[in-house]
Symmetry: C2
Subunit: 443 residues, 2 copies
């Protein structure tokens, strides 16, 4: 079985991701909606992750939740930072999700995020809530900040109590080794079944001042629209008011984490958090509009889309990365619905895995997506090869189709010819390895 994983970072850094920010609103800059190739101006990719921006330190250590791998991390801002958070929509919410929501109701200015992996602290009742609060308290003590300035997150097995003593001891140790070089360690400490570490950084120009943004993510399995078992933490030295940061995050998450699917499930612990500490010295963003805001928003969307794609590429057992572009829908919402139905179809995902140009399954998925369209007007492309033309005209070379489907990255474009709505969605194929990994996760 080949793997796409080794190639991921390279492809992303080669600018493949950048164009995705060209969908939707950004189509004004050119096209890009179908091909995802248009780079957003002024954004430059950097090595590193959450400690790339000025004024952030981090650490990742082993404290004893997992047997030997890193399982605890701290991300700390040297200055009070505006915070914005998106949390899982699952009705079953883990204790750290509930505690983070409480924290965000008290304040929008934070100094630190503490995360453990290996244990989700979910379905753990009152004791779980106390444990999550203890993580906040221990972090606040170790950093000498207020307990209302710490966000908390967990990922791992559901229904087991945290080894809270080991974790609070670990927090002291992690605080002692915080470093502006610690981003990679932190990214290593948040992963579970992931097969590679996910981080990304970029810089952009804000009125002549260089602003930096860094991020890390945890994915693999249970990734779906509405934020399945997925964590992402983003830092930036931009100066952004909490309200503006919140609206930018909400919009960008809708076009990134809510447009990826590995297996259609959502989970109890999902969280995306952004901290903005203003240390770049760039002017403050206090309104959601204007060229400076748009530059910031484009950078944030590029960051979240890139992290989202890395998560899809690490989908359990994935051997192919699939980009689905729906164009010509009556509006963007219908385009998203159609793209999501295709992305979540096991039959489409297994056909792609088998490199079979089964356009009938794609059309059938659009058919049950709930949108309005005339099937006889639909056109389907694999890469640039037209597979289905209007009036059900099928006239493609199996050889050419096989060539496209033999690649590790496949673009499927569905043109509905009903209107101007378009959307991109990212998913992976469904392999026997997915079944093998998930059949025995818990035991």
């Amino acid at each position: 079985m080949n793997s796409i994983k080794e190639r991921d970072r390279k492809n992303v850094h080669a600018g493949k991701a950048a164009g995705v920010a060209g969908t939707g609103e950004h189509r004004a800059h050119g096209d890009g909606a179908m091909t995802g190739q248009l780079p957003v101006p002024h954004v430059k990719e950097l090595p590193g992750g959450v400690t790339a921006p000025k004024g952030f330190r981090a650490a990742g250590i082993h404290c004893g939740v997992k047997q030997s791998k890193k399982d605890l991390c701290l991300v700390v801002s040297d200055a009070p930072a505006s915070a914005a958070v998106v949390l899982t929509t699952n009705r079953v919410q883990a204790a750290p999700v509930l505690v983070t929501r409480e924290q965000m109701q008290r304040s929008r200015i934070f100094r630190a995020i503490v995360v453990n992996s290996g244990n989700a602290n979910a379905c753990t009742g009152e004791r779980g809530m106390n444990d999550a609060r203890a993580m906040v308290g221990a972090t606040a003590s170790a950093l000498n900040v207020g307990p209302d300035q710490v966000l908390v997150s967990s990922t791992g097995v559901i229904g087991q109590f945290l080894p809270i003593g080991r974790i609070t001891e670990g927090i002291k140790k992690a605080a002692a080794v915080l470093s502006s070089e610690g981003g990679r360690s932190a990214a290593e400490a948040i992963i579970t079944t992931d097969t590679f570490v996910k981080e990304y950084a970029l810089e952009f120009d804000c009125d002549g001042v260089r602003v930096t943004m860094g991020g890390m993510a945890k994915g693999s399995g249970m990734i779906a629209p509405n934020m399945a078992t997925m964590l992402a933490f983003v830092t930036t030295d931009a100066s952004v008011s909490p309200a503006v940061l919140g609206s930018a995050l909400s919009r960008a998450a809708g076009r990134s984490f809510n447009r990826i699917s590995v297996d259609g499930d959502t989970s109890t612990n999902d969280m995306v958090a952004v901290l903005a500490n203003g240390r770049s010295g760039a002017g403050s963003l206090t309104e959601a509009g204007g060229p400076r805001y748009e530059a910031f928003y484009a950078a944030l969307e590029q960051m979240l889309v890139t992290l989202s794609k890395l998560i899809v590429k690490d989908g359990e057992g994935a051997t192919k990365f699939i980009e689905i572009n729906v164009t010509g829908a009556r509006d963007e919402e219908e385009a998203v619905k159609a793209a999501r139905a295709i992305a979540n179809s096991n039959l489409v995902k297994t056909a792609i895995h088998g490199e079979d140009a089964n356009w009938g399954r794609i059309l059938a998925a659009v058919g049950y997506s709930g949108i309005e369209f005339d099937p006889s007007k639909v056109e389907i492309y694999f890469g640039s090869v037209p597979i289905l033309r209007r009036n059900y005209t099928i006239d493609f070379s199996e050889e050419e189709a096989k060539k496209v489907l033999g690649r590790k990255e496949i673009t499927i474009t569905v043109s509905l010819h009903e209107g101007e709505g378009s959307a991109s969605f990212w998913t992976c194929d469904l392999s026997k390895e997915y079944v093998a990994i998930n059949a025995n996760y818990r035991t």
Copy 2:
């Protein structure tokens, strides 16, 4: 890899299916909703299928759509029969579905159903419509009945034109060999990737008169709520007005074919049709109510639930049959939503495949199903073994859980403790074989 398939018919005939009609409305008779064990009174299972009732003949032959297997069947009533039909809700509808809808708009009294397998006649435009009408015409000629008295159905590959000459020739041949023993042949001629033939028959008492009902089905893969690639044809010698037959079919399909899932996709060709020719001599049903109607409805629901379960058991690559019972929901609709989310979760299905008591994935699926509930009140049972108790109390023997999960038929019960709503849903596990079968279906 073990297979459950050989055991299916025996289990069904041993009365396992009967109790399912005890859910919902039928709870008034006792409980049965959770265990599915309550038999419906007065219903007796019989051998055979669509030719078990009086006045029906059938034939199944090879005409040349497939390479060598049977691919064409006729089911004929010797007397004009009331008809009721349920068709796919997919926006992409095959030509035979569109033609059958036209036919049903003209009349509710029919004499025959013609079905081919191997080619779905879907996405074939005007030529496909003409081909479906030609099937109707050829059948009417061969049987010497009006062209408004024939229903048509197809299943198989999408996007290819029918070899209509071979099919119309085949229709003549099939008409020449119609027989009251032909039910099995007919059932053989409608299957595609199915690994076993699906038929079922029963009789029940109607005011001292014996009424018989027979059915056959085609499934395997792409089965989901709202009727995926799935065909079912039911005959009965009951006397039922078209309107009453329509309302009984609509209700029973909602509790059978719309409560099964193999992979969550729906297709272009699904159809359930019932013909009732009155040849039993029992009094006519012209109102949807009263004990005679309830006896007929119970028999029809048992027929459709049994055929539905046979389809699930033949799910592609399935090694385990899973019954999901949700109880204590706020109403039946919410119970169905929760049960469907569990049944469609790849993570739940792979965990069951791996015999892993991963209750967290079940709870998470209920969490994103969109229903209202308090997670801390939820209880989950595997068979009769409590796995999760209220307040997230987990106190089960892995050994006992393994024993239940090692079986070929597994019942999962989720008690929400929010109200009186309950529902059953049937699905199968997700295996590596599913991926293997679906990765190379078309080529």
